[in-house]
């Protein structure tokens, strides 16, 4: 559908179902902020959205350099989407380095908007361009718009009394304004945000708003961009929505859990990427009784959380892979003393310091087995940014009901990615029951277990008559006294395992996407949900015999997992690691699962999953044909 713009009849309007935009620039260019604003505006407009921020570990790598490029990709759509998109339809490159590092991901025929002011010899050299890509055939397969964004922005702000450098910092809003015109977005959400964000400096507010509007009007009137695009609101489930990022949803889920449990939260943490935003978010929630402790190290952080749990709070710590390694001894303490504890592990690329700002799912085996002794605990993994809220609630519920540590395996992609989230009705959420025993006429026994959950009582200091001791030495069954008895140790080892298995009674059955049996079953966990769902749905529409399940409970597994696995000829496990879930599934269920691995610090593209499934489907057919010909 093509119509003509009212403001400028020279310009056409086209309707599109969805668009993938990537903003790319120098770390100092404000690309994350620009992308975030486009996201919020699109969300409020009612589009479905999914985002992928991608930034370097360095705060400000040398200006104009390749390692200093920061990018933000977002997919917005009038239909349901589940990933940030495989390839950008539009790339905004604020400098040569941004063009160089991002152009390879952009499909041919896509729009590339260039800040041509930045394509000066010095910047070209920093980006290792031997010739100017605007003048050779580097961009011949793209629809290129060369726009002197820096100059236009400076001109627009000529009357504002701030430095030239400060004016230049507004150029991302100029670019954003152009994009708002191109995709028919209103300016008001961003204008309100600017007013709030820079409230202390009127001139900066004025400059940024002026840059935003100038960009919008430039795109509307200048004879450069001839078409703009309409993307209708998506038909999401009716309800009230907000845009939410994974870490934000995690923090919100925890505060909600604390309120539902009428038990204060103590969050002890040590700064680490990409988990720190949870500490920032929770430290704002003091009026909910939340206490946040920034500790001297990762070990102190989990120690403080365990101490707080001993005192009767919901004790939490948050970290990423290297921090989880440091916490493993204390995690085992929580296992043997059987206190509730939630450990948020926002995974990133490893080993060692690895890729701090990039995503990976390579801590599953560490979470499962990374401790001395037989030391089972519960493991959960949210599958979308919004699901972080729900799984954070689940983590707290399981921890306090079963008196166990729970590891919550999120990752960098979920942490910083965002999506529209239907705000739950608080009143309809189930209360979380927390019980602290009081003195009765019975002798208090710290390790006397609940028959159904096998949990021990959570008696807290300050309770008269229940004074007792716990510790890391093996406990005698029932009394909790120190015991070196061989039979007792074996019994306690079994009890600790049985308690974790008992959680199965509270885990919902897996739902199969597609038919309950067939050729290929795709098994995913955590943040790969969107890509797997989209790939499987697409192939199903083409008639392929493929279904999928997604694990959000990784220890224990849902009860019906084994029977589902047995209903398919082949099982494919896509993971952002070298096959960690596959290893567990093979060991536990003796099934021959195929792996599909990606360890590039980037989430799966839909096409990568589709290709993996197709490959397995074709080999399945070959096997079937061979069988038939016999």
């Amino acid at each position: 559908m093509t119509t003509h713009s009212e403001a400028n009849p020279q310009k056409k309007t086209e309707e599109l179902e969805s668009v993938v935009i990537r903003f790319a620039g120098d770390s100092g260019d404000g690309m994350q902020l620009t992308g975030g604003q486009f996201t919020n505006t699109s969300a409020v407009l009612g589009n479905d959205i999914s985002t992928l921020p991608d930034f370097p570990a360095e705060i400000r790598a040398p200006a104009g350099s390749l390692p200093g490029v920061s990018a933000f990709q977002l997919n917005f759509s009038s239909s349901e989407i589940r990933t940030p998109g495989d390839q950008p339809d539009v790339l905004i490159a604020m400098n040569p380095a941004a063009l160089k590092t991002n152009i390879k991901d952009v499909h041919h025929g896509a729009i590339v908007i260039i800040n041509e002011d930045a394509f000066i010899p010095r910047n070209l050299e920093r980006a290792n361009y031997e010739s100017n890509p605007l003048e050779d055939d580097t961009l011949k397969n793209y629809r290129v718009y060369r726009i002197p964004i820096s100059t236009l922005n400076q001109n627009a702000l000529v009357d504002i009394d701030i430095s030239g450098k400060a004016k230049d910092r507004c150029k991302n809003f100029f670019a954003l304004g152009m994009m708002y015109w191109m995709y028919e977005r209103p300016l008001d959400v961003t204008i309100e945000w600017i007013k709030k964000k820079f409230a202390k400096n009127e001139l900066v507010v004025e400059a940024n708003i002026k840059a935003l509007k100038a960009g919008f009007h430039y795109a509307e009137t200048a004879e450069v961009i001839s078409t703009h695009y309409k993307i209708q609101p998506a038909q999401l489930k009716p309800g009230k929505y907000r845009n939410i990022m994974g870490n934000e949803a995690t923090a919100l889920g925890l505060v909600t859990a604390s309120t539902l449990a009428k038990t204060p939260l103590v969050y002890a943490s040590y700064p680490i990427t990409p988990a720190s935003d949870i500490l920032h978010e929770l430290s704002k929630r003091k009026n909910f009784g939340v206490k946040t402790l920034q500790c001297e190290d990762e070990i102190a952080a989990i120690g403080a959380a365990i101490g707080a749990a001993f005192g009767g709070s919901i004790g939490l710590t948050g970290t990423s892979g290297p921090g989880l390694a440091l916490k493993s001894e204390a995690l085992n303490l929580a296992i043997i003393v059987e206190l509730p504890l939630i450990v948020l592990n926002i995974q990133r690329g490893g080993p060692s310091t690895g890729l701090p700002t990039k995503t990976e799912q390579s801590d599953l085996l560490q979470a499962m087995f990374g401790r001395n002794g037989d030391s089972p605990l519960a493991i959960l993994a949210p599958c979308t940014p919004g699901d972080c809220f729900h799984m954070a609630l689940e983590a707290v519920k399981i921890a306090v009901k079963y008196m166990t540590p729970v590891i919550f395996l999120s990752d960098g992609y979920l942490a910083n990615g965002s999506e529209p989230w239907m705000i739950p009705d608080y009143q309809s959420l189930d209360p979380i029951e927390v019980k602290h025993p009081q003195l009765t006429s019975e002798k208090f026994l710290p390790y006397l277990r609940n028959e159904s959950t096998l949990a021990r009582p959570w008696a807290i200091p300050g309770t008269p008559g229940l004074e007792h001791r716990i510790g890391g030495l093996e406990k005698e069954d029932v009394t909790g006294n120190v015991s070196y008895d061989p039979q007792n140790h074996e019994k306690m080892t079994h009890l600790r395992a049985a308690k974790i298995q008992a959680i199965t009674q509270d885990i919902p059955d897996l739902e199969v996407l597609g038919k309950p049996e067939g050729d290929v079953l795709v098994v995913g966990w955590g943040s790969t949900y969107g890509a797997i769902y989209s790939a499987v749905e697409k192939l199903q529409k083409q008639g392929a015999s493929v279904s999928s399940i997604h694990l959000r409970y990784l220890n224990p597994f849902p009860k019906n997992l084994e029977s589902i696995l047995g209903s398919f000829r082949r099982v494919l496990v896509p993971e952002m690691n070298m096959g960690q879930l596959a290893m567990i599934l093979r060991a536990k269920y003796l099934i021959d699962c195929q792996t599909l691995n990606k360890v590039q610090g980037q989430p799966f593209k839909i096409s990568e999953i589709t290709a993996g499934i197709e490959k397995l489907l074709s080999s399945t057919h070959e096997v079937k044909n061979v069988a038939r010909s016999r």
Binding site: R242, N287, R469
Partner: protein
């Protein structure tokens, strides 16, 4: 385990004695410390259920099992961190950390200094026997240079750490030293620590009869101890000696011993004040053992008041509630830019 809620006013040592058999070596200094603390706690006027004893790993760290209070025998070196979390959540409790020289100063050095600098209201009791006992006799961070042990048959080449100097450098608001053979002195010091609001650090010279016997004869030998140690008393001049005929004065910035006729000390002796605002004087006390001829100070080096961590953490919560009202979950969930998707059907 008692089924009765023990009323505070009639608490005795027996009320703080658990039903577990004490398993330290016969003759270990830990027995005296246990008995002393079991006697001191009833004097502090705190209900028994409000006490929590947190320990790390080592001989001393078995302590909580023998106390009829809430107790948590944790992992090596981490007791101050765990106690910090407990106290931050529960400022109403009296939280004690029981630790040793290996636990607190080697593996747990980081947690110790940070608990002290934050002034968490914890009573940290360090049993210093200058040896690893539970692992059967390796040198510790407080073992003297050149010490021959199982792991240092040719003598240790590690320089030792000074626990009181470390505690002062870490901004502890209460620093004291006592020893396991003087029950009266230990009682006074532990009581003062128990009454102090803020992080209290007490070093107890504790004799290990098996692996490092007679490590503290300087303070324990009845013949010589009065001449080799000095008991600090607030507001009193630094006088010591069997005949009370020796004192300490500052000479050009250095401490030195002066002798005098008993009962007529000179006017220029140093006078002990544990409550001085600055910690310079307390640092001098902590460093006395470096100067040959000076006695080992025993008693409270420093005791000052400043807001505690747990108190301030709690105050911020209260303040936020007063200023913005108690948290409203509905409001929080619905905050930020929101929009409504209508039911089209």
């Amino acid at each position: 385990m008692s089924l009765e809620v023990v009323k505070n006013e009639k608490l005795t040592r027996k009320d703080f004695t658990s039903d577990q058999d004490v398993r330290w070596c016969p003759g270990c200094g830990d027995y005296a410390i246990l008995a002393t603390l079991q006697n001191v706690l009833p004097q502090l006027g705190i209900p028994r259920e409000k006490y929590a004893f947190i320990s790390g790993i080592g001989c001393s760290s078995r302590f909580p099992y023998y106390m009829e209070t809430y107790g948590f025998h944790t992992i090596h070196g981490r007791a101050p961190a765990i106690a910090t979390g407990l106290k931050a959540h529960r400022p109403d409790l009296s939280v004690w950390v029981i630790t040793g020289d290996g636990d607190a100063l080697s593996i747990g050095g980081n947690h110790l200094i940070h608990a002290l600098r934050r002034n968490v209201d914890l009573k940290i009791i360090l049993f210093n026997n200058r040896i690893y006992g539970l692992t059967k006799g390796q040198y510790s961070p407080t073992s003297e240079y050149g010490k021959k042990t199982k792991s240092t048959p040719y003598g240790s080449v590690d320089y030792p750490l000074n626990p009181t100097a470390l505690a002062l450098a870490a901004e502890a608001t209460f620093v004291a030293r006592t020893h396991d053979t003087d029950i009266k002195h230990m009682t006074e010091v532990l009581k003062a620590a128990g009454e102090h609001k803020g992080s209290a650090f007490v070093e107890i010279y504790q004799n290990c009869v098996i692996f490092n016997d007679n490590a503290f004869t300087q303070v324990s030998d009845k013949q010589t101890r009065d001449d080799l140690s000095i008991k600090l008393a607030d507001g009193k001049p630094l006088i010591f000696g069997k005949e009370l005929n020796k004192g300490i004065k500052l000479n050009q910035g250095s401490m030195e011993v002066v002798s005098f006729e008993a009962d007529s000390p000179p006017d220029d002796l140093m006078v002990h004040h544990a409550t001085k605002d600055d910690s310079v004087y307390a640092h001098l006390l902590a460093r006395m053992e470096e100067i040959p001829g000076l006695p080992v100070p025993l008693g409270v080096f420093r005791a000052i008041q400043k807001s505690t961590y747990d108190e301030m953490v709690q105050a911020q919560v209260q303040d936020a509630i007063e200023k913005t009202g108690p948290g409203d979950m509905e409001k929080l969930l619905n905050s930020g830019d929101t929009w409504i998707v209508e039911n089209k059907a």
